[in-house]
Amino acid sequence: MRAEVSAIECSNVHLRYGWRQTQALAGVTLAVPQGAICGLFGRNGAGKTSLMALLAGFRRPTQGSIRVLGADPFENPEISAQVAFVYQKQGNDDIYNSFRAKELLRLGATMRPNWDVAYAEHLLERFDIPRKKSVGRMSKGQAAALRCTIGLASRAPLTIFDEAYLGMDAVYRKVFIDELLADYLAHPRTILFSTHYIGEMERLFSEAIIIDKGQVLLHDNADTLRERGKTLQDLFISLTLKEGETYDYQGI
């Protein structure tokens, strides 16, 4: 795989599912270069998770093409090994919850070519994750931190975080950001990061994608976007408000 290959390339991607043919993605075209930390913002139901699931090979697009690191990610052993998808399953996940932290770490060590055992242990300590507890018996924050740990320790060339730290308190979120940046510096990779805490995380991103109703509203370099004079959060809100709603907060 050559270095010039984009980490992500989507071409007119549509995703419809269910007997009601819900349109999750309606023509998404974008390209993310390798090595970027890319923020993905969107309201609930905008299509963020659907897009990420497609990139991770969890489903296939109804239409259009997806290329991850130059190839179709669906049922592709080489690509799957290089993509880590960190997410929280909706609803009950009794099977996952029955596993203990150390078992999940061991699984990661077995399956991920770039896994770093010492680093995983370091992260466990930083997040105060109990090794012997099963996920179902951990607090929400600990479970989220465990998922993030596995995601970081995998050192996958494309790492996707889908609101991965939902449930983590402010301190752990900060620890996570620090660890992410530090490891990113030492082991560069492409990171796609969806979050609702835009304000808190915006400085992390080199580029930002705003997605709304299954389409890409905006995709640009983060600093370029800031030259419009607004924070990314304000920009996001002003772009995705419904007709008739206004957002008039003015600072002093």
């Binding site: 599912y17 090994a81 099977i95 699984l107 896994w115 996958a156 620890v175």
Partner: protein, 269 residues
């Protein structure tokens, strides 16, 4: 503004090996070759077709571990239950306990039932392995192998019990192993219908599954003895060998179908 006074490394972790400039994507495939982290990973690097097999091996090993533990539990519980019931019966002095509960039938049936349940539960582990970079095919192949192994192991247990209490032929051992595996595959088929997230596929797979269970034609050691007799009535006495061949073929086809169907499962996150 005191940048100079800042602590450079807040996290306190010293990365084991820095890869200057590289993005972890090396020519020819995944994995950072020569990385000290490789020593810690079970399998470093996946290349081409070999990658697929290696992934299946890893899935296989992990699934064996998951299934093995619960199988041991099952056997232990089964043994305890059987002993207790036997003791109760002999104590009460009702009947010859062995006539009431012929081990040669109870154990194989229970084992098959257990495999059916496992066939329903194990495919649900797909999502976890998918999340760790496996493909559906690697998972399916790994699960095929793991379930075949467990099926054979349980058949051996049957043999050991049967040797004590009844007679045993090579064919009956094969029959048990195949039967166990078949029941697993049927359970798996049923679950796939649900994994497709469609009411229709769920109903279809459940019905087909039930039909398959009642059609298992290998003489007499399974639940639907009556249907076996029916088959004999309809088609004449089947040479045992032919019956075995037919059942083997059915099982293999089912295994094949299950792997193919697994490929199209969408995971809803």
């Amino acid at each position: 503004m005191t940048i100079r006074e800042s602590n450079a490394d807040k996290t306190g972790y010293v990365p084991g090996s820095s890869q200057p400039g590289s993005l972890g994507v090396t020519a020819g495939g995944a994995g950072a070759a020569g990385n000290s982290a490789d020593a810690n990973a079970g399998g470093a690097g996946m290349h081409g077709a070999a990658g697929s097999t290696r992934g299946a091996m890893q899935a296989f090993r992990w699934l064996i571990k998951q299934m093995g533990l619960s199988t041991l539990f099952f056997l232990a519980i089964f043994a305890v239950v059987m002993v207790v019931i036997n003791l109760m019966l002999t104590h009460v002095d009702v009947l010859d306990a062995n006539a009431l509960l012929p081990y040669s039938e109870v154990l194989p049936n229970s084992t098959a039932g257990y495999m059916l349940v496992m066939g329903i539960v194990m495919p649900l582990y797909l999502e976890i392995l998918l999340g760790q970079g496996a493909t559906r095919r690697q998972f399916a192949v790994g699960l095929l192998g793991a379930s075949a192994l467990i099926a054979s192991a349980l058949a051996l247990v049957n043999v050991m019990i049967a040797l004590v209490l009844a007679d045993v032929t090579v064919l009956s051992v094969l029959g048990w192993a195949l039967g166990n595996w078949f029941y697993f595959l049927v359970g798996w088929l049923i679950v796939i219908g649900y994994q497709y997230r469609h009411v229709i596929t769920a109903i279809l797979s459940t019905l087909i599954g039930i039909c398959l269970l009642s059609l298992w034609p290998l003489g007499g050691t399974f639940i639907s003895k009556s249907l076996t007799e029916l088959a004999v009535t309809l088609f004449g006495p089947m040479p045992v060998l032919l019956a075995t061949a037919a059942s083997s073929a059915t099982t293999l086809v089912l295994a094949f179908v299950v792997v193919i169907l697994s490929r199209r499962i969408s995971i809803k996150v």
